[in-house]
């Protein structure tokens, strides 16, 4: 991992060789560009789109891509371009929410486990093991199966799937930090735990957490699109890219544009996050 020196603090993390490696990584630029583009599209979708995503025109149903409708129209005559652009908002949101939730919850659990050890640690880690005993999509399906289909439940499901990663990660960082002599010394000298946490544990944890989160957003977007595709995520008439793919299925093989563009959007978005995540990971781990 990153250099471990006494008082490895925030400033060091920021200006470390890791950041320089990151900047040199080709994937970093492409990935960042894609993610940035996504954020911009999500923010400015109404301005970018030619018409509202819900505007119907029954006389122009299922038209293939043309100059005036670059992505074609769907079965209600709505602009696929507009719907794909607006879909970015929902995708970004449903990608960020579960990861943010899992990050907060998981890190807290990991912190508690690593710090207090003993019974709490054993119980928490066993619980994490149980969650990890399920294949991820299956666990998500189990949660949705319990709570019922719906976008909120889908977000909760993905968050639950992700929690163990962060818990384990933070826990191992905490355990590692405990072993460090300087930390033990500081404790012996009476330094308060909270301060120790912040100055020594957090900087070491930030890197892997950021990597995990970035890749996690990509996974979350993919997973939620999948759940929506199965009809278990967003419920009509709300629509996201996954739902658009599910509906477009009915019009195969004729109206292929209904499936091509939403799928392209998902792929590109996830690719962006994966590129970014990979670049971050490679930057933090010089051996690759």
């Amino acid at each position: 991992m990153a250099e471990r020196r006494p008082a490895a603090g925030w400033r060091r993390a920021w200006s470390s060789p890791a950041m320089r490696r990151f900047r040199r990584h080709p994937g970093a630029w492409i990935g960042s560009a894609i993610v940035l583009a996504l954020v911009l599209v999500a923010a400015f979708a109404p301005l970018l789109a030619d018409r509202p995503p819900t505007q119907q025109d029954l006389r122009a149903r299922l038209r293939p891509p043309s100059t005036e409708q670059p992505f074609g129209t769907d079965e209600f005559g709505r602009s696929v371009l507009s719907r794909v652009l607006h879909g970015a908002r929902l995708s970004l949101l449903t990608g960020l929410l579960p990861v943010a939730t899992a990050l907060v919850v998981g890190s807290t659990l990991g912190l508690l486990a690593g710090f207090f050890r003993g019974r709490l640690d054993a119980v928490l880690m066993r619980a994490m093991d149980v969650l990890l005993a399920f294949p991820s999509l299956l666990l998500a399906l189990a949660v949705v199966g319990t709570l019922g289909p719906g976008i909120v439940n889908a977000v909760i499901a993905i968050a639950i799937v992700d929690v163990p990663q962060y818990a384990r990660l933070v826990r191992s960082v905490v355990l590692g930090a405990r072993e460090e002599e300087y930390v033990q010394a500081a404790r012996a000298l009476g330094a308060r735990d909270g301060r120790l946490m912040w100055r020594h544990v957090a900087p070491n944890a930030v890197g892997p957490i950021v990597v995990q989160a970035t890749l996690g957003i990509g996974f979350a977007i993919l997973a939620i699109a999948g759940l929506s595709f199965l009809g278990l995520g967003v419920q009509p008439p709300v629509s996201d890219w996954g739902e658009m793919l599910a509906r477009g299925r009915r019009y195969l093989p004729d109206a292929t544009w209904l499936m091509i563009f939403p799928g392209l959007a998902v792929s590109l978005t996830v690719l962006g996050f994966n590129l970014l995540g990979d670049a971050l990971r490679d930057a933090l781990d010089p051996r690759a």
Binding site: R126, A127, D129, V130, A133, F134, P135, S136, L137, L138, L141, A142, V144, G145, T146, L147, G148, P149, G218, L222, A225, G226, F229, L230, G231, L232, G242, L245, R249, L252, P253, T256, M259, G263, V266, S267, V270, L271, N274, L275, D278, R287, A288
Partner: protein, 309 residues
């Protein structure tokens, strides 16, 4: 070895306990009354008194731990309850669909391992050349593209446009091709990434450099030394993939109308058929745990170092 195996087996017990507990609790976390959830539509005409009586009869008014033990006892007997929709035992429903899922999982795994390991090794050996770059790019695409999209693309091209293969369903070996390739390629991407990383790491080890210095031909070095040590993460991820594939490759099964357990689960969720959902989740996770355990033990049997690690 035996002690290691025993240790692992015992270690699995709390996990099994946790899994069955979670599945059991599903009935209680679900919004609404568990009795209603169990009966489904049939519960509509029934009076409150009758529901109360039913609850007592089924023992649902007893303390939770007792009910849980009862549930586990039922599991050991092979009783997973009855499907609300079809009224058939859950186990039968799953048993009907399991062969299809296993067939798809094995076919996809074969493709995934062959493709993934080859690609990963190639990339690692040719590091920093265009081959590596291309391989990374391909693998990256593989994990970014949603399986239900690539499946449709393949279906459009090979089944609908060219007509070489059937579009959906299960029957001849031809029906297996598209679903297996779809899921196999996606899985291969994951395996390739891990393989590349593992092989690179193994190649960077000191003993490898020593072997190289001794003048052994590079290929021998790779195949004999590096690969053997890279095997652990590779085998681990293969095991995980197999588990995931058994998870029903839900999305692919839906795309190609493949009659497997994955689709069974989704249909059950949509129909709010709780016993079937519980049963499917339980069976698949048990399979997953079993697969991972087998993978761990086989690996430990091959490579003694792991046992004492």
């Amino acid at each position: 070895m035996l002690r290691y195996a025993l240790g692992r087996l015992i270690g699995t017990v709390p996990v099994l306990f946790g899994v069955t507990l979670l599945v059991f609790l599903m009935a209680w976390v679900t919004p609404g009354d568990p009795v209603v959830a169990m009966l489904g539509e049939a519960s509509q005409g029934i009076s409150r008194q009758a529901l109360e009586d039913l609850r007592r009869e089924l023992g649902l008014d007893r303390p939770l731990p007792v009910q849980y033990l009862d549930y586990v006892a039922g599991l050991l007997r092979g009783d997973l309850g009855d499907s609300v929709r079809s009224r058939r035992p859950v186990l039968s429903e799953i048993r009907d669909r399991l062969p299809a899922t296993i067939e798809l999982a094995l076919a996809a795994l074969a493709i995934a391992v062959a493709l993934g390991v080859a690609l990963g090794v190639l990339a690692a050996v040719r590091k920093r050349t265009w081959v590596d770059g291309a391989a990374i790019a391909v693998a990256l695409l593989g994990v970014s593209v949603p399986v239900f999209w690539s499946g449709f693309l393949l279906m459009i091209v090979f089944a609908l446009e060219l007509g070489w293969l059937p579009a959906s369903g299960r029957g001849t070996w031809r029906h297996l091709v598209l679903p297996a390739v779809t899921v196999g390629v996606s899985s291969a991407a994951f395996i390739a990434r891990i393989t590349r990383g593992a092989v690179l790491e193994a190649l960077a080890q000191d003993y490898v450099r020593t072997a190289r210095a001794k003048g052994l031909a590079p290929r021998r070095v790779v195949l004999r030394h590096a690969l053997r040590n890279a095997l652990l993460p590779i085998v681990t991820v293969v095991g995980l993939q197999l588990g995931g594939l058994l998870g029903g490759a839900v999305l692919t099964e839906t795309v190609f109308a493949w009659p497997g357990v994955g689709r069974l689960l989704v249909d059950a969720i949509v129909a709010r058929d709780l016993p079937l959902v519980q049963g499917s989740v339980l069976v698949v996770s048990l399979l997953f745990i079993l697969v991972n355990l087998t993978v761990d033990l086989s690996y430990a049997a091959i490579n003694p170092k792991v046992r004492y690690g």
